[in-house]
């Protein structure tokens, strides 16, 4: 799972930022697939699959690489309705990275579409490096489909795509002295609101700040690494219905997300000892302003006489305030049973995890009928504490290796399974409609049943 999270981060960087930080072996061919199956029950499903092919060639002081990847992700949530968020993208990318004596240049063009470039200045040994990067793209991030409950002919099925126009800027630096290494990276992403010519669409206006710091010390046979990551996302998501060129907003979600994460890792040829701590918070605020309702279904109705008259006789709006925060600690150890020169390198590992989190959601449903307004307030307070383990198995088989020619062919497989030992989820729901209040609470409900991750890859180095 930890492997998955790291790979996901890397892929996200490719998709969203294309900071040229891919560790692509010079002159190599790699291919593989991975999948995460986190939840699969009748009302929720989370699954993600990814396959990729990367080919790179080193020519003089440049590496040219091309990749093709297929992403398939699906989140389904059934309630009184069915919401599916899917991502199904085929992305072809090409990149060039050139190292000169005092300057390095890198450019990536991807079919999402995305283009980015990075330039860095450094000394001849690359002990000190400082660079800047810039990127721009219009990736389609996800497709959303919301279907009302069966047999409801009034509300239409709503299909919308979230396509964003993203501008990314970053500055990065690195210093190596004696056996120490310090690295920093600061990125800013800003998305421009974008209105496609569609009947329904999602639009976002997002500002993201990512700060990354790395500190490493190289011992004789091992390396100690500490990393800090700070992410701050200030995002506003809008869902728009468009009739005859006129837009009406029916969904508004101002989301603030903050993440602090620290990784400490010590590794040698056989052992990878690590610990991750993360603290996150996710907040949706309701300013109570008109047209800032979380959901206003009347504005999403198909243009009709019924829709027009609904404003006079029956209007419904929903306002959501939410705060989710939590902490995750994941200490773990991975052990490669044989040395890196062996043909067969089995790997076994174990991460423990502890997480606690709080979810506090208030949903206010307002129904306006002619001269009256009915307000129903529902509060969902969930507290989660869980600990367990993530067991991992891996196997790398070097099919062919020629150190003298620097050529190799290897195949690698990894799998992880979440095994929760204890999940303590306390749910408290309050409902307040007019004069009556209903309270429901339950404990020890199952939050996550289990999760499974696997990947398989082939690498040819030449």
């Amino acid at each position: 799972m930890v492997i998955f999270l790291r790979k996901m981060l890397l892929r996200c960087l490719v998709i969203l930022t294309c900071i040229a930080s891919l560790e692509i072996p010079a002159s190599s061919f790699t291919t593989g697939c991975s999948g995460l199956f986190l939840l699969d029950n009748t009302s929720q499903k989370i699954a993600y699959r990814n396959c990729y092919i990367t080919d790179s060639v080193e020519v003089a002081n440049s590496i040219i690489w091309a990749s093709y990847q297929k992403d398939n992700g699906k989140i389904i949530w059934k309630d009184d309705w069915r919401l599916s968020l899917t991502r199904s993208e085929k992305i072809a990318s090409i990149g060039v990275a050139s190292d000169f004596k005092y300057i390095s240049l890198e450019t990536i063009v991807s079919g999402t579409p995305w283009i980015s470039t990075a330039t860095s200045l450094h000394d001849s040994k690359k002990n000190y490096e400082l660079g800047i990067g810039i990127g721009y793209g219009e990736p389609t991030i996800l497709h959303a489909k919301w279907t009302p409950e069966e047999g409801n002919d009034i509300l239409p099925e709503i299909k919308g795509d979230l396509q964003s126009h993203i501008l990314q800027k970053n500055i990065f630096g690195k210093a190596t002295f004696y056996d120490n290494e310090i690295g920093i990276n600061a990125s800013i992403f800003a998305s421009d609101p974008f209105n496609p010519e569609k009947k329904y669409y999602l639009r976002d206006s997002t500002n993201t700040l990512v700060l990354e710091g790395t500190l490493a010390h190289h011992f004789a046979d091992s390396k100690l690494l500490a990393k800090y990551l700070y992410v701050d996302i200030d995002s506003k998501i809008y869902a728009i219905s468009k009739h005859d060129g006129d837009q009406k907003r029916f969904l508004y979600l101002p989301i603030e997300t903050t993440l602090h994460s620290v990784l400490v890792q010590w590794q040698n040829e056989f052992i990878d000892l690590h610990a991750i701590y993360a603290n996150f918070s996710f907040k949706i605020d309701d300013d109570g302003e008109r047209f800032h309702e979380t959901l206003a279904p009347n504005r999403a109705l198909e243009q009709s006489l019924l829709q027009t008259l609904s404003f006079s006789f029956l209007q419904k709006t929903f306002r959501v305030e939410a705060e989710i925060s939590g902490n995750i600690i994941v200490p773990g150890i991975y052990y490669t049973i044989t040395s890196k020169s062996s043909r067969i390198q089995p790997r076994i590992g174990f991460d423990a995890f502890y997480m606690d989190g709080n979810l506090d959601i208030q949903r206010k449903s307002e129904t306006t009928k002619f001269i009256t307004k009915d307000t129903e307030i529902e509060n969902f307070l969930w507290e989660l504490k869980s600990f367990g383990s993530i067991a991992g198995l891996g196997l790398k088989i070097v099919l062919w290796n020629s150190p003298t020619l620097k050529k190799a062919l290897s195949i690698e497989w990894n799998a992880s399974q979440i095994i929760p030992f204890s999940v303590d989820l306390e749910k408290r729901n309050f409902k307040n409609q007019g004069e009556s209040t209903e309270t429901q609470s339950s404990t020890n409900a199952k939050a996550i049943r289990n999760g499974f991750y696997t990947d398989l890859g082939l690498t040819l180095q030449f």
Partner: protein, 628 residues
């Protein structure tokens, strides 16, 4: 569901679907008819906004109370609504007496008058009667449950001199009309003041109501009057001897069809000389005026929409406190274009009330409609049913001439009806029929596992527990005997048990040993037209698919049978070695089988032809298919 019940329901459903409920000669329409109320006429002063402080204070209180009233109505709290309504009406009345030209008082009094229908004596009595019938508040029920209560109440024995339920409903609706009329007079007066707005404090937020709301509300009152007039005008009295007890008899599946007086009554309702679905003579002019009421309703809604467009022209600043904002861009609820389209659609609808209007169904199909002509049909809808002949109930279950006689008994045999009926007769008479369900089954499980064959089974929900008994159907020639093959029973009061597979708690009853319910076990013979012994073999008349009671035959204009109801419901049947396949008739075939005496339905669809009609049926059925 058992076959007999299905057939009974099908026949009832069909009878109602064909609009065939009416009274027989013994029911008197004049007794059921509500008297036509007089339309109130009074003059009121042109409304103005008053600046009197005392009046304003009184009005503020009344405005809060009227919101409470509407809230109680929307929350279906009738008791509260009734008590608040009377008070609110008085509060507005007091201001109106002191300031007859006060706009807010006129508006409030008009609305309160309309809602105070809930305090109308006839309505109150009707609701009280229905509440006591069900033990619950009918006002809080969903429409389906409320309809069931009404049906139950209509069947229940009524008090001496009490009118049948349909007559009570019609009287209540008729008595509501003058209140709606009065409310309309006040609301129209308010709407005529272009600049009048009223501010309301709704949950701490200011709401500004203006002509954009008052005009559609006036339209809604015209629609309410149309509905009340239609309900009161049509003869919906389907009672038999001033009672609806026949509905219970209709559902009595132990009776032979031929012996069931209720079925005869239903058939009589379908006859073209039945008064059912006609318009009472005193109500004819009111009924024929409904298109004009609808016209007014539409005009007022259009007026409200037009006002919205006018407001939008001066931007959204003036609409800051309006319930909805008309304008372009995301900071508005609805666009001017939408409002204009709605006005145009309403105009077409309005024109269809007085003349012919063409509505496009899709790119190729359209239909010309004259809704006004619908309200000219006052002599009942029976004349527009397809040409048909009702079959004598005695012959409903007789096999058709092309049905096969098969050696083995199966549930497709017409004898199944008789077997089920006989089985019910053999059950103890003290069982509560409402808790009993009898049905056929072709398998059951016992300790040895799965057993297949032909069985009849009943489930009974007694006071202490639930019981299920399965009987084998043993035939000897055309004689039949029931043999008990399986029994199981549970007592109520089990416990909640966690089911791992469902990840939820399920309620598990406890198995118990109760006494077996005894049936008489008497052997009986199947009628000779359903079962015969020929050449030493017993043969059963067997339907092509499942046995269906043939309630009526469809005919052409000359009276020649085109298709039986049984064949129509069965469709085409194809057989191979193991299976029967059946396919519904195509619309092309139905065109020749179902013949309407007047396909224009009294001029409602003036340009309709048989070809166009069946094309449209095709379009709609395909449309539905695509949606699924």
């Amino acid at each position: 569901m058992n076959i007999l019940k299905k057939i009974t329901l099908a026949s009832c459903g069909l009878a109602f679907c064909l609009n065939g409920c009416g009274s027989d000669s013994s029911s008197s329409s004049s007794e059921s008819e509500a008297s036509v109320p007089e339309t109130p006429e009074f003059k009121i002063e042109a409304c103005k906004e008053t600046t009197d402080i005392k009046a304003s204070q009184q009005l503020e209180l009344a405005k809060q109370d009227i919101q409470e009233l509407y809230k109680a109505l929307y929350n279906r709290n009738l008791d509260k609504a009734q008590s608040v309504s009377a008070a609110v009406k008085n509060e507005f009345k007091n201001v109106l007496t002191a300031f007859p030209d006060n706009c807010e008082a006129q508006l409030g009094y008009g609305l309160a008058t309309a809602t105070d229908i809930i305090n109308n004596e006839l309505f109150k009595k009707l609701i009280d009667d229905l509440d006591s019938e069900s033990g619950y508040s009918i006002f809080e029920m969903d429409p389906e449950d409320a309809a069931n209560v009404m049906l139950k109440a209509s069947v229940s024995a009524k008090q001496e001199n009490q009118k049948v339920i349909t007559a009570q409903i019609q009287e209540a609706f008729a008595s509501a009309i003058p209140s709606i009329d009065s409310a309309i007079i006040y609301l129209r007066n308010v709407v005529s003041n272009e600049d009048f707005t009223v501010l309301l404090d709704v949950d701490g937020k200011t709401f500004e109501l203006d002509k954009g709301e008052f005009a559609p509300a006036t339209g809604a009152l015209f629609i309410a009057k149309s509905i009340a007039t239609a309900v009161a005008s049509l003869n919906i009295d389907a009672s038999l001897n001033k009672s609806y007890a026949w509905i219970d008899t209709l559902q009595n599946s132990e009776l032979e069809f031929k012996d069931n007086p209720a079925l005869k009554h239903v058939i009589s309702l379908l006859e073209s000389d039945s008064p059912f679905s006609t318009v009472y003579s005193d109500w004819k002019s009111s009924y024929k005026n409904i298109p004009n009421l609808l016209d007014s309703a539409i005009s007022y809604v259009q007026l409200g929409l037009q006002y919205g467009i006018k407001e939008a022209a001066s931007g959204i600043a003036t609409q800051k406190h309006d319930p909805y904002v008309v304008g372009s861009g995301e900071e508005a609820d609805v666009s001017v274009q939408n409002f204009q389209t709605a006005i145009d659609s309403l105009e077409s609808l309005k024109n269809a009330l007085h003349g012919n209007i063409k509505f496009d169904i899709d790119e190729k199909h359209s239909v010309v409609v004259n809704l006004g002509n619908f309200f000219n049909i006052t002599d009942g809808f029976q004349d527009y049913l397809p040409y048909h002949k009702m079959v004598d109930p005695e012959d409903w279950l007789k096999p058709s001439s092309d049905d096969k006689w098969i050696e083995e008994f199966s549930f497709s045999a017409y004898a199944a009806f008789q077997i089920e009926k006989e089985f019910k007769r053999q059950l103890p008479t003290n069982l509560n029929k409402e808790n009993l369900d009898v049905y056929f089954t072709d398998y059951f499980y016992n300790d040895d596992g799965y057993v297949d064959g032909y069985f009849i089974e009943f489930s009974y929900y007694g006071d202490a527990g639930y019981k299920n008994q399965t009987y084998g159907i043993e035939t000897n020639g055309c004689s039949v005997k029931f043999k008990l093959v399986d029994v199981y029973s549970y007592t109520y009061g089990g416990s909640w048990v966690y089911d791992d597979e469902l990840d939820d708690y399920v309620y598990a009853d406890e198995e118990s040993k109760q006494d077996t319910i005894q049936i008489t076990g008497k052997e009986f013979s199947i009628d000779s037209d359903l079962c015969r012994v020929q050449d030493g073999k017993t043969v059963f008349a067997t339907a092509k698919c499942s046995p269906i009671a043939n309630i009526f035959n469809l005919t052409d204009k000359s009276g020649k049978v085109t298709v039986s109801y049984r064949d129509l419901a069965t469709g085409h049947v194809y057989e191979d070695d193991d299976y029967h396949y059946h396919e519904s008739y195509t619309t092309k075939e139905l065109r020749d089988l179902i013949v309407f005496p007047d396909i224009t339905f009294g001029g409602v669809f003036p340009e309709m032809t048989s070809e166009k009609f069946w094309d449209l049926v095709d379009v709609f059925s395909n449309h539905e298919y695509k949606e699924w």
